[in-house]
């Protein structure tokens, strides 16, 4: 933001058509084609949407802890508003926060820089992707203000409830929600194709497949998973839209439709989607842990195989979301087996990350703490998943708060802890300034402790029988006990603390953005290509056209014996280095 673009670009570019000029405000912020600005657009839009998602969480947690109370900044929450709040919280956090920030923002920012390219292969397509995404966000926000309010049929949108305005009572909200989701899918399809093609074709000379930084692999695998799984849901969305608006009966049994079909169409996408957001976050761990342990990533190939294995297996497990949702019970056995088996690659991946610490020289900087936090918290989410994958146990846990706690222990570490890890780690590259480490650590500990305070009690209430999506437990005699209520209050209070700690982050971000100490081009002494740009933050084109990097070694050459420095950047030639 502050570094002058004083670099003397070579204009004798052999490739032609490659010209540099100082971007105008319009070109930079409104219609950018530079991947770094599009990444920022995604990042800020995602974080802005997170405020809405967080506010919804605040609303319904307050309602849970203090039923029918007057909620500060809102008022009383009606049952309809409650349903809308949980639905929109889920949709916003997954589709408009986790996806844009983890995949689109970091993918856009990192892929060209890490593979040594000057931009994405299709910069204008990239811009289109963001514009579609922005449009989808606007449609979604608009849907909160239409007559009868926002869609409240849960983010899974099971018909007939979602397909018929007579059932949901939000005909407009349902349709707009569906359109918003579909447009968002289109945005990420366009973006995903761009990511994959860029990583496949535009790698720097000399960069072989096992020299590619792990997060690039992870984002590409995630994009592939998204691309191969979202089709049926796009088809399903068209069908559901027709059900809502043209009187067809694809999913309504009153005339030959089948509600179970939607569940399959949804979860065929919905389960791989979990890994779509998980893999980029684990990729960040794979980037950050080696840097701060000053150590090579443990068994690069194995990490990659576990990621691919997880990705492939994720296509075979979707019906574990439907064990008791009306599928034939015989099929549940197949899906139990595949689901439990997915623990093998994921556990191995976690082991490999932990093994990377072995023999390291570990520095507990803020990004490192966040990366370790991902591993620590995700472990809880991972092991509690086993309860859900085992069909016999899922019969009891399905749609209880145990589920809620479980998937928040996966999604929160992925989408927030992972994002904070990536954000604090790449902040110097994105904005050219360092973040405040003390404030970062305060934010880390506050967030981690309060996050566990929110969801650990919810495992207990789930075991006690608390169902999800219940507006007010006072209607259920067995659930309206003081013990359970106390746990709910602990959870809500923890949420308030967590929200309070986010102000530390916001303060730190804006303070560092404008007044933080100027960072060098490689403040963490990392090896990957994004730290080798001559300017910080990199200007348009990332490297001068006549000095594009070539790659001579893998991405994690730390503490190589016989070298003075404990890192060996990928672009340093062997003899000259």
């Amino acid at each position: 933001m502050s570094v002058a673009h004083d670099h003397d670009h070579g204009h004798d570019d052999a490739h032609g058509g490659h010209h540099h000029h100082e971007p105008t405000f319009m070109e930079r912020y409104i219609i950018p084609t530079d991947h770094k600005y599009i990444a920022q657009q995604y990042l800020w839009t995602g974080m802005f949407m997170a405020l809405f998602g967080g506010f919804y969480a605040y609303l319904f947690r307050m309602q849970m802890a203090f039923p029918d109370m007057w909620i500060p900044f809102f008022g009383r929450l009606s049952a309809m508003e409650y349903n809308a709040a949980i639905t929109q919280h889920g949709s916003v956090m997954i589709f408009w926060v986790a996806m844009p920030v983890l995949i689109a923002a970091f993918g856009n920012f990192l892929i060209p820089l890490m593979i040594g390219a000057d931009d994405m292969v299709f910069p204008r397509l990239n811009r289109l992707s963001y514009q579609l995404f922005l449009l989808s966000a606007i449609i979604l926000i608009a849907s909160w203000f239409v007559p009868n309010g926002a869609f409240g049929g849960a983010w899974t949108a099971y018909p007939p409830l979602s397909g018929d305005g007579n059932y949901s009572l939000t005909p407009m909200g349902s349709s707009m929600w569906l359109v918003a989701v579909a447009v968002e899918f289109a945005a990420f399809l366009v973006g995903g194709i761009n990511f994959i093609v860029t990583a496949m074709n535009a790698r720097a000379p000399g960069m072989r497949w096992n020299d590619v930084p792990m997060i690039v692999w992870m984002i590409c695998i995630a994009s592939l998973l998204f691309m191969a799984s979202v089709g049926p849901l796009i088809a399903g969305a068209v069908m559901l839209f027709f059900d809502q608006n043209l009187g067809t009966n694809f999913f309504d049994p009153r005339r030959g439709g089948d509600p179970i079909l939607w569940q399959h169409l949804f979860w065929f996408f919905g389960h791989p989607e979990v890994y779509v957001v998980l893999l980029p976050a684990t990729g960040m761990v794979a980037e950050i842990v080696p840097v701060f342990a000053r150590k090579k990533l443990f068994a690069y190939d194995s990490v990659l195989y576990t990621a691919i294995g997880t990705g492939v297996l994720s296509f075979f497990v979707w019906a574990h979301h439907q064990f008791v949702a009306g599928i034939d019970p015989r099929m549940a056995n197949v899906f139990t087996i595949t689901t439990v088996l997915i623990s093998i690659p994921i556990a191995e991946m976690i082991f490999l990350y932990i093994a990377t610490l072995y023999g390291g020289s570990i520095r507990f900087t803020t990004p490192m703490l966040w990366a370790l936090g991902v591993v620590f918290s995700f472990l809880i989410g991972g092991v509690t998943g086993i309860y859900r994958g085992a069909s016999g146990a899922d019969m009891y846990f399905h749609d209880t708060y145990f589920v809620v706690a479980h998937f928040h222990f996966t999604f929160f570490p992925i989408a927030f802890i992972g994002t904070f890890a990536g954000f604090t780690y790449w902040f110097p590259k994105m904005f050219g300034r360092m973040m405040n480490d003390t404030l970062g650590k305060v934010h880390f500990w506050g967030t981690m402790i309060s996050f566990h305070g929110i969801f650990l009690p919810l495992f207990a209430t789930g075991l006690g029988g608390d169902h999800r999506r219940i507006y007010n437990y006072n209607h259920f005699a067995d659930l309206a006990t003081p013990d359970l209520q106390m746990l709910r209050i602990i959870s809500t209070v923890s949420l308030l603390i967590l929200i309070a700690f986010q102000f530390v982050f916001i303060y730190n971000t804006f303070k560092s953005l404008f007044w933080g100490p100027i960072a060098g081009t490689n403040p963490w002494k990392a090896t990957t290509l994004e730290w080798t740009t001559p300017e910080n933050p990199p200007s348009h084109g990332n490297w001068p056209p006549n000095a594009m990097p070539s790659v001579y070694r893998g991405a994690y050459e730390y503490s190589v014996p016989g070298r003075d420095e404990d890192y060996w950047p990928q672009n340093v030639p062997n003899k000259a280095g």
């Binding site: 049952a79 309809m80 349903n83 409240g152 049929g153 099971y158 007939p160 409830l161 059932y167 949901s168 009572l169 309504d252 049994p253 439709g257 509600p259 342990a293 000053r294 150590k295 090579k296 443990f298 068994a299 190939d301 194995s302 008791v324 949702a325 019970p329 549940a332 056995n333 139990t336 093998i344 556990a347 082991f351 932990i354 610490l357 023999g359 390291g360 020289s361 472990l379 809880i380 086993i386 309860y387 085992a390 016999g392 146990a393 019969m395 009891y396 207990a460 006690g464 029988g465 169902h467 999506r469 507006y471 209607h475 259920f476 005699a477 067995d478 659930l479 359970l484 730390y558 014996p561």
Partner: protein, 222 residues
């Protein structure tokens, strides 16, 4: 604190045992992994002048540390799958002979129950129809014919550990055999619209005498 619900059906104990089995296995892994994690973090914290090891992770003596747990996990998975499928088969696929068959109809936002009445048969004039109130006899296998009039609901009785979604257009048969007399919650566990949060019913598990008395008292006058 009373968090643990009493097991109120013949198979509730099976599910609880399965949960304990899973807890044992994943608890072991959780503890071991965390011990390793924090040990390594402490042991290899940065020390002035000490350089990190340079290993690729493919050295056999190191990779063993990944490979062996890997095999052990496969073994654990087999145990888990066998345990889960056994319980599942017993509850969802197997259907013991019914002592009584009750039709359960979910609609926005109430449960209605059609008990077979004195003659023990459904769809006869002496059926007992109730709303948000189900009566069953302890120690008797009850088949619940689950139906829905409008959207998805879910018939969930936490004390029985039973949960089954109710799908419009389909008849799904669930069964249970209650073991402890008392009155418990029936909850709708699938989002079904505005009133989802008030879609509660109560199940009365009665001794044979109480149940007969209830039938006698509740039967419609024909």
């Amino acid at each position: 604190m009373q968090l643990y619900l009493l097991p109120g059906s013949t198979y509730a104990g099976d599910i609880d045992s399965l949960v304990l089995l899973i807890t044992g296995i994943v608890g072991f892994w959780y503890v071991v992994t965390n011990l390793m994690f924090f040990y390594l973090l402490w042991r290899y914290r940065a020390v002035e002048g000490q350089k990190a090891l340079y290993v690729t992770g493919h050295e056999p003596d190191l990779h063993r540390w990944i490979a062996w747990p890997h095999y052990l996990i496969i073994a654990c998975d087999v145990v888990l799958i066998v345990g889960a499928v056994r319980v599942w088969y017993h509850i969802k696929q197997n259907l013991p002979e019914a002592g009584e068959t009750v039709r359960v109809v979910g609609q926005q936002w109430a449960w209605s129950f059609q008990h077979p009445g004195k003659d023990g048969l459904l769809d006869t004039p002496d059926d007992i129809k109730t709303v948000d109130e189900m009566h069953v006899q302890v120690g008797q296998v009850v088949h619940a014919k689950l139906e829905s009039r409008d959207v998805l609901h879910s018939f969930s009785v936490p004390v029985f550990r039973l949960k089954q979604d109710v799908i419009p257009g389909r008849v799904i048969t669930a069964w249970f055999e209650a073991t402890v007399p008392g009155v418990y919650d029936i909850q709708c566990a699938e989002m079904c619209g505005i009133g989802h949060g008030i879609m509660a019913a109560r199940i009365h598990v009665e001794t044979p005498e109480e149940h007969q008395a209830w039938i006698a008292q509740a039967s419609p006058q024909i």
